[in-house]
């Protein structure tokens, strides 16, 4: 190790490389998010000892076990309150939650609502793939209206949650990013990790096998291209349009110290 090792590889110290490959399908975007989290950890020099990763259940829930630090794989939807317990018990720890949109916004939605209200100083990174992938492809809280899934064969009749609105008027941090926009994702995660309060990164990522495939995407690259063509970066936004990714302007920006 030492100076000869480039930055490109050094993030790997945050991973239990011996456990690879991950259990995820070929073409899954979760690995991109996992890697970007580790790169963000590396860039701000998060200590291996003193950082804890907590996950819920689902495909993204399995990512916690790959971190080369203490990690907790909890029950479905309960990663956020377990993480809050850890943070309130030892405020010195860096506490990071990694989980999916179904876990965090569906079964765990009530906890998310209250964690935002409490502004607990933890970071949540949501692997937002718009689908319950592990169970075969059922509708999720952020599946767009009209989209066909296993449980919405006529098309999703409901509007998806636009989770950013929970953060408006609160002191918490919200960012949306995508698996195509790697440097933006890293920037969002770093800003979230450095934020002093509750921070949430909605990382749009692709599930080709149990979602995109049924929507007519040829492969996972086609889904990435869709992100590329759809999303415009709008950091410091009052509100993010459906075709925008970025960091939401919040009350926190009035206090420069919070960014440290």
């Amino acid at each position: 190790m030492g100076n000869n090792v480039t930055k490109d590889v050094q993030f790997k110290r945050y991973l239990k490389l011996e456990l690879l490959p991950t259990p995820w399908c070929p073409g899954c975007g979760n690995g991109i998010v996992l890697k970007t989290i580790c790169q963000a950890f590396y860039e701000i020099n998060f200590p291996l000892q003193g950082t804890v990763v907590i996950s819920g259940i689902g495909c993204a829930g399995r990512s916690a076990g790959f971190f080369n630090l203490d990690s907790v794989h909890t029950t479905h939807g309960r990663a956020v309150p377990v993480a809050e317990g850890i943070k309130y018990a030892n405020e010195k720890l860096n506490v990071v939650v990694v989980s999916g949109d179904g876990d965090l916004m569906g079964i765990g939605g009530n906890h998310l609502l209250h964690a935002i209200r409490r502004n607990t100083n933890i970071t949540v990174i949501c692997f937002a793939n718009e689908i319950y992938g592990m169970t075969g492809g059922q509708v999720s809280p952020i599946t767009p209206k009209g989209v066909k899934t296993l449980t919405t064969p006529e098309g999703n009749p409901d509007n998806p949650i636009d989770i950013q609105h929970l953060f408006v008027g609160n002191k918490s941090f919200f960012a949306r990013t995508s698996a195509y926009h790697l440097s933006h994702m890293k920037k969002c995660i770093i800003a979230a990790l450095q934020f002093n309060g509750f921070s949430f990164v909605e990382a749009r990522t692709m599930c080709i096998v149990n979602y995109g495939r049924r929507l007519g995407y040829k492969n996972s690259n086609a889904m990435l291209n869709h992100y590329k063509e759809t999303y415009k970066i709008n950091d410091n936004a009052e509100e993010l349009a459906p075709n925008e990714i970025g960091i939401l302007k919040g009350n926190f920006q009035a206090d420069e110290q919070l960014y440290q």
Partner: protein, 340 residues
């Protein structure tokens, strides 16, 4: 400490502090609310009021993994909500204490009246096989002592320990002299943030998930079970009063109802488990000396069923339902079953 007039729930709060509890998380519910109401005034303890009982036990699990002794308190409806995470705490070997102050169920039931309807839920409420340690005191003094016992057993077994109470003894005021010279067990396992361990609800071996290895699962469950039995042996609390007069009947009762059982000490021998689960050999050894066994409880026969399973013979049920504990009614019911 000097003599104090304490409510049962206050005794639990005081004892938790003596046991070294540093974290409490809960959701208001009758008849357990006095515990959180009391604890917020103890400055050494971090107290959270959460959005529900699911997040209450989740935060307690997190705080315990982070190194603090932690507890939650609830009643039946909240205890039901906690069940999934109780299984998680068993699987991840997280020490914590859950106080369940029982009220009449099912559902919303009779919220301010005592019951003992959560006995089976303690051991089978979560899915899969797990082997909890459960205590059930019957006085304010015992609530104090065995809150400390529960914390020690939790630390010893690295598992969630259940302290049962009921609306009667938790709302009872008695004078007690709280002792503080108990042996207190502390954690050996290092807290979160000091290694690269993976705590998971999946079947696992030494931090590694093993989701399709039957041999590993069998080994894991055997180890968890043995660990619970070994710990329970050290806290094998019960009360046995042999009848002065000739009798062939053993009256088994626990919690609030066991207080009225003392009234019949000259007619029957009395047995009162304090360690409710796991049921250890002493109950069987004592019960085998009697021809007739009556189990009096505030449910339709939950503990009686467990005793029958262990003794391989029928016992007589004496259910006291709806939160009404009347000596007259119990006398009549007892004379009914005895003459049968």
């Amino acid at each position: 400490m000097s003599k104090q007039l304490l409510q049962g729930n206050q005794a639990i709060a005081l004892a938790a502090e003596v046991a070294g509890m540093a974290f409490f998380s809960g959701y208001p519910i009758t008849p357990a609310s006095e515990i959180i109401n009391d604890l917020v005034n103890r400055k050494q303890i971090k107290v959270l009021q959460m959005e529900d009982e699911i997040s209450s036990i989740a935060t307690v699990i997190g705080a315990s993994l982070a190194g603090l002794k932690a507890m939650t308190a609830t009643s039946g409806p909240g205890f039901s909500l906690m069940q999934e995470n109780i299984g998680l705490a068993h699987m991840m070997e997280v020490p914590l204490v859950i106080v369940n102050v029982q009220r009449v169920g099912p559902s919303t039931g009779m919220p301010t009246l005592p019951a003992q309807g959560d006995i089976i839920q303690c051991i089978h409420g979560s899915h899969g096989d797990y082997f909890p340690i459960v205590f059930y005191p019957n006085s304010v003094a015992e609530l104090y002592t065995h809150t400390i016992t529960a914390f020690n057993a939790a630390e010893e077994s690295l598992s969630p320990v259940i302290l049962l109470s009921d609306a009667f003894i938790s709302h009872l005021y008695e004078t007690i002299t709280p002792q503080s010279d108990f042996p207190i067990k502390n954690r050996e396992r290092p807290p979160l943030g000091s290694g690269s361990r993976h705590f998971t609800g999946l079947s696992h071996d030494n931090s590694l998930p093993k989701t399709s290895d039957a041999d590993n699962y069998r080994k894991l469950i055997t180890r968890l079970r043995e660990k619970q039995l070994i710990t329970a042996q050290q806290y094998n609390y019960y009360e046995y009063r042999e009848c002065r007069n000739e009798t062939d009947t053993l009256l088994i009762s626990y919690g609030a109802l066991s207080r009225i059982a003392y009234y019949f000490k000259n007619e029957f021998s009395l047995f009162r488990p304090i360690l409710m689960f796991p049921i250890l050999g002493d109950l069987k050894r004592i019960a085998l000396q009697y021809k007739k066994i009556i189990v009096m409880e505030m449910n339709t026969g939950q503990y009686a069923g467990e005793i029958e399973r262990i003794l391989h013979r029928e016992v007589t049920l004496l259910p006291v339902l709806g939160g009404r504990i009347s000596l007259e009614e119990i006398k009549n019911a007892l004379s009914g079953v005895v003459t049968k």
